[in-house]
Amino acid sequence: MSNGPVVEANRLRKDFDGTVALTGLDLRVERGTLYGMIGPNGSGKTTCIRILTGLLRASGGEASVLGVKVPSKSILSRIGYMPQELAVYSDLSVHENLEFFAGLFSVKGEDFLRREKEVLRLIDLPSRKDDLISTLSGGMKHRVSLACALIHDPELLFLDEPTVGVDPELRVGFWDYFNELKRQGKTIIMTTHYMDEAVRCDVVGMMRLGEMMAEGSPQELMSASSASNLEDAFLSFARRPRA
């Protein structure tokens, strides 16, 4: 296991037919960190995650994940990805979705059943295991989407808005689980709109207009901007003239 950063990006750029989504992003995430990306829509959070997971090619700069330059198939068995969209098969049951994604990671037999039990407990849906996704509520579908990202017990998790549509009680459960994963040495990189969630991250990256505006622990960011909460800190950084 390498001691270097789990994720590293240098001068990462991404253009979409003339529209610049990332303008030269630098990022470094250490192992065992719970890293939160915050920023308004269009700030480049999702684009950054899609480049790191290999779904997009960077237009400039470079990035490595788990010590391997991306995009690369070789790291995919070690990462879990939960897209912003539901990205589960609505014409399959919860169990069938989990079995499918587990199968792609070659998690089978007893291992699968054990993992399935664990993730179903986490998302609080053991009783709906055999129900079709199309019969679940929006929040439940979101929970199944998270379970699919966790089914193979990855060492690095990319979660794009993982708690959207999840009720407050369950969100607490999610955060307990994220902290548990962190204790196990796993790394989590997530995007979120909820500032009260971002406060729980070890490191927060504030993104705006395709670049990293500020980065540090929530306390550091609030101190540096003399703000009492992350939202004010974000606004304070956003008002500063760009370098």
Binding site: F16, R50, T53, G54, L55, L56, R57, P71, K73, L76, S77, I79, Y81, P83, E85, L86, A87, V88, Y89, S90, D91, L92, S93, E96, F100, F101, G103, L104, F105, S106, K108, L132, C148
Partner: protein, 384 residues
């Protein structure tokens, strides 16, 4: 390529269908409906075509050739003689023509007053080397439907020959001896059943493939799958296997129905026929996959269907032989995979040919399937 992951993708695809009863019904009943409808409508002979017979023939030497031919015509299943007017009803020729003009009947068959006498003279002159003026039967026909017009001409010709040969022993100097090299006892349905089988497999695999992949893209499940260790090739192969299997099941349904309902013949190896359809199904699935990347929604995807379907129906030799396709369009037929599938399946089923004779169309289908799978894999590997 890990077969386990290919099987995982195939199982997922088939499971999705299992929960969708309507689609399963579509997959099974559409081909069944196609073969039943085509079989009953195209496969049957024309029956009970309404005609009038106006026989004004006085006869010759106490015999009326026209009455004999008219009698034969009245005994056929093809024709239904609505009115028969014997000699002395000359005034009926006009009203009978009116009935054709009013589309109440398809034809009015008219024997003139001297028909038997003219036939006798023509026969005498022929045997004595004198110039021959043939007797004539006037058929005033509504040829709006060429098939019906042709059927009437054929029946009259057959009736005429039967009477001349069997009753008057006037044997024509030339006879055509047919020897069926292939297709002994083949009916029209034997000709088009392989085509319908290929058409159904092509239509359904292409349609569910293009819609499935558009859905994979629009619901972002494809993105998620591509962040797993499954390779693009394994994903494409998994889908191909599932859809190939569906094409195979459909072909069995069609074959079974065609055998049970229409007693079609399968002179060759049925497994080879299924292999042909399997290859076609895989290729069409790949084509659906490729085109899915250009469609933003299921609604746009479905617009490709007539574009693929109509040239295949018309130019691939499903219902008409390729020789009936205008020469200017024939090169297009060579680019339609269904052409090769129909050709191979037909040769196996009717001619009883084996792999040694149909290897070329099968090779072309295999090449088409391989090319589509390779291109689909390549299109997935391309990242924005």
């Amino acid at each position: 390529m890990k077969l386990g992951r290919v099987a995982t993708v195939s199982r997922k695809t088939l499971r999705s269908l299992r929960h969708d009863r309507r689609t399963v019904a579509f997959l099974v009943f559409v081909p069944l409906l196609m073969i039943a409808l085509f079989g009953y409508t195209f496969g049957g002979d024309l029956k009970h075509v309404k005609v009038d017979i106006v026989n004004l023939d006085h006869g010759s030497m106490d015999q009326s050739l026209a009455a004999d031919i008219a009698g034969e015509l009245q005994n056929t299943e093809t024709l239904s003689v609505t009115h028969y007017f014997g000699p002395g009803n000359g005034s009926e020729a006009g009203p009978s023509l009116d009935r054709v003009q009013k589309a109440e009947i398809w034809a009015s068959i008219l024997f003139d007053e001297n028909f038997s006498r003219d036939v006798g003279i023509a026969a005498f002159n022929l045997s004595h080397g004198l110039p021959v003026e043939p007797a004539s039967i006037k058929i005033r026909v509504d040829a709006t439907n060429p098939n019906i017009a042709q059927a009437i001409f054929t029946e009259v010709q057959k009736a005429m020959q039967r009477v001349l040969v069997e009753k008057y022993h006037l044997i024509p100097p030339i006879s055509i001896q047919q020897q069926m090299v292939y297709g002994q006892g083949a009916k029209f349905i034997d000709f088009f059943a392989p085509g319908v089988m290929g058409l159904a497999a092509m239509m359904v695999t292409f349609m569910i493939s293009i819609i499935s992949f558009v859905h994979e893209r629009s619901s972002f499940t494809l993105d998620r799958v591509l962040t797993t260790p499954v390779t693009e090739g394994e994903f494409v192969a998994g889908y191909a296997l599932a859809f190939g299997l569906i094409a195979l099941i459909q072909s069995m349904v069609i074959l079974g129905a065609a055998i049970l309902l229409f007693q079609i013949q399968i002179a060759g190896n049925a497994v080879l026929v299924l292999l042909t359809i399997f290859l076609l199904g895989i290729g069409m699935q790949g084509l659906g996959f490729l085109l899915s990347s250009t469609a933003k929604s299921e609604f746009q995807a479905i617009q490709f269907l007539p574009l693929i379907l109509f040239p295949s129906i018309l130019l691939a030799g499903v219902f008409w032989p390729l020789e009936a396709v205008p020469e200017v369009l024939r090169p297009i037929s060579s680019f339609i995979p269904l052409t090769y599938a129909v050709d191979a399946a037909r040769s196996i089923m009717i001619r009883g040919w084996g792999l040694e004779q149909v290897w070329l169309p099968l090779l072309i289908l295999a090449g088409f399937a391989a090319a589509m799978l390779a291109l689909s894999t390549y299109s997935l590997k391309r990242r924005k």
